[in-house]
């Protein structure tokens, strides 16, 4: 119940959440987020300088709920796990208020409604400390550099792969494939009649047209088939002939010169 502004800082290498309290019910978050409900709980317990084996559950629950409410007010999405923990805290709090069963006095430790939570917090705290250790190690490693690329690396421009890579690559191929299929369906609308008209116009414009060039403009197999049929059709019905200047050379579609006939 301090009326003065107070400042809480939480220093995990300035990477994680901090809560600034300007007045008792006007909390402000600074930097990041808590990594989870257990992270937040540990923070609140530390702030109260409470013994983890004897958590002042009513007080901590109130503070926890204040934090959640504040997040909501700031439009920060509150992960479902935070709400689940809130419910658990309220439940523990209410069980703590129940009168003690005098018959169970000897089993007090086991019956402590907080016990399960304390176990989880202790387990979690170990890994949090391990995370901090990893953080320190990676900081040291960032000061060490491997050699620059040398010529021999070029001979081995390969990547190593994991099962995750295998699956993501497969996913990518499938989506790439889907796009192609979509494109093909889109182009299907080019009819044989359009293709013939198109082709005829091109030949009349320039006098002759390379089949290879014309086919190269096409994308889908269906278009190629339509174009192929169109070529046959135009040779059969219009004054156009096929010319090949050398064996295996390009085939030219040539307008038949009327005066030469």
């Amino acid at each position: 119940m301090q009326p003065q502004p107070e400042q809480y800082t939480f220093d995990f290498h300035k990477e994680t959440a901090e809560i600034f309290a300007e007045s008792h019910d006007e909390l402000k978050i600074k930097l990041g987020e808590f990594a989870g409900p257990l992270d937040l709980l540990l923070y609140l317990i530390r702030q109260e300088q409470a013994n983890i084996f004897d958590i002042p559950i009513a007080k901590i629950t109130d503070e926890y709920l204040t934090y959640i409410r504040m997040m909501k007010r700031l439009d920060i999405a509150v992960a479902a796990e935070f709400l689940v923990m809130a419910a658990q805290l309220i439940e523990i709090k209410s069980r703590m208020l129940l009168p003690h069963d005098p018959a169970a006095v000897e089993d007090e430790d086991i019956d402590d409604p907080r016990k399960e939570l304390v176990d989880r917090l202790l387990e979690y705290e170990k890994f949090k400390a391990a995370a901090e250790m990893l953080y320190e190690k990676t900081t040291i490693e960032q000061a060490v550099f491997a050699r620059g690329k040398i010529e021999s690396d070029d001979n081995n421009a390969e990547i190593s792969a994991t099962v995750f890579d295998l699956l993501s690559v497969f996913e990518k191929i499938l989506s790439r494939h889907k796009e192609e299929v979509k494109m093909e369906i889109h182009r299907e609308e080019i009819s044989l009649a359009d293709m013939i008209r198109n082709l005829k116009k091109r030949i009349l414009e320039v006098g002759e047209l390379s089949v290879i060039d014309f086919f190269a403009e096409l994308h889908s197999r269906r278009e190629l088939v339509t174009a192929f049929v169109a070529v046959l059709e135009i040779v059969r019905t219009e004054g156009v002939k096929l010319v090949q200047r050398k064996t295996f050379g390009d085939i030219i579609l040539k307008k038949v010169q009327e005066q030469s006939g």
Partner: protein
């Protein structure tokens, strides 16, 4: 006769040391004593002692480089003292740090591997999906097959890149999780 043999042996070790140094240099990943022994067709113990000797000669020389054991192999790298100059030259900043959520998830995976998503959730008390995705993408963790329980959940473990990234020789190089318990309770 004995002297000649000795002289020959001395020359051989120097030669071997040269070859070892050259191979560690060209390898683009830490190179194991085993691979070195195979390529050089030499006894593994012999190679091991040559590498140790090489590493300590770098140490004595106190230059800009070091030979160090990492991720089950040997690597030549710059010394930490030179990091400012190197960074300035490479124009790099310390690479993007992992978020707290990713680090926590990685710590759980490192110590509990092989471990499933629900098991990580149990310890962290929060979903770790996006952290796991990040760690997979950064290749710090790899899948370790399905667990033979209901739903056959995927199991995860740490990768070789994990060891390299955190400067660890192998997993046993990690402090034990119980050490943290003592740290917390003290």
């Amino acid at each position: 006769m004995a002297e000649t043999a000795e002289a020959k042996e001395h020359r051989d070790i120097a030669e071997l040391s040269r070859a070892v140094e050259a191979l560690i240099f060209v390898a683009d990943e830490p190179i194991s004593t085993k691979t070195l022994a195979e390529v050089l067709e030499e006894d593994r113990e012999m190679i091991a002692s040559v590498v140790e000797e090489l590493a300590s000669s770098y140490e004595e020389r106190n230059g800009g480089l070091q030979v160090r054991e990492i991720a089950g192999g040997w690597q030549i790298s710059t010394r930490t003292e030179c990091h400012e100059d190197v960074r300035k030259f490479l124009k790099t900043r310390p690479s993007a740090k992992l978020s707290l959520a990713s680090l926590e998830t990685l710590a759980v995976i490192a110590y509990k591997q092989p471990v499933t998503v629900p098991e990580i959730l149990e310890i962290r008390g929060v979903q770790s999906a996006s952290a796991i995705k990040t760690l997979l993408e950064k290749r710090l963790i790899i899948t370790k097959g399905h667990k033979e329980t209901v739903g056959r959940p995927m199991q995860y473990g740490t990768s070789k890149e994990f060891l390299i990234h955190f400067g660890l020789k192998d997993l046993s190089d990690l402090p034990s999780i119980e050490d943290f318990e003592d740290l917390i309770s003290s």
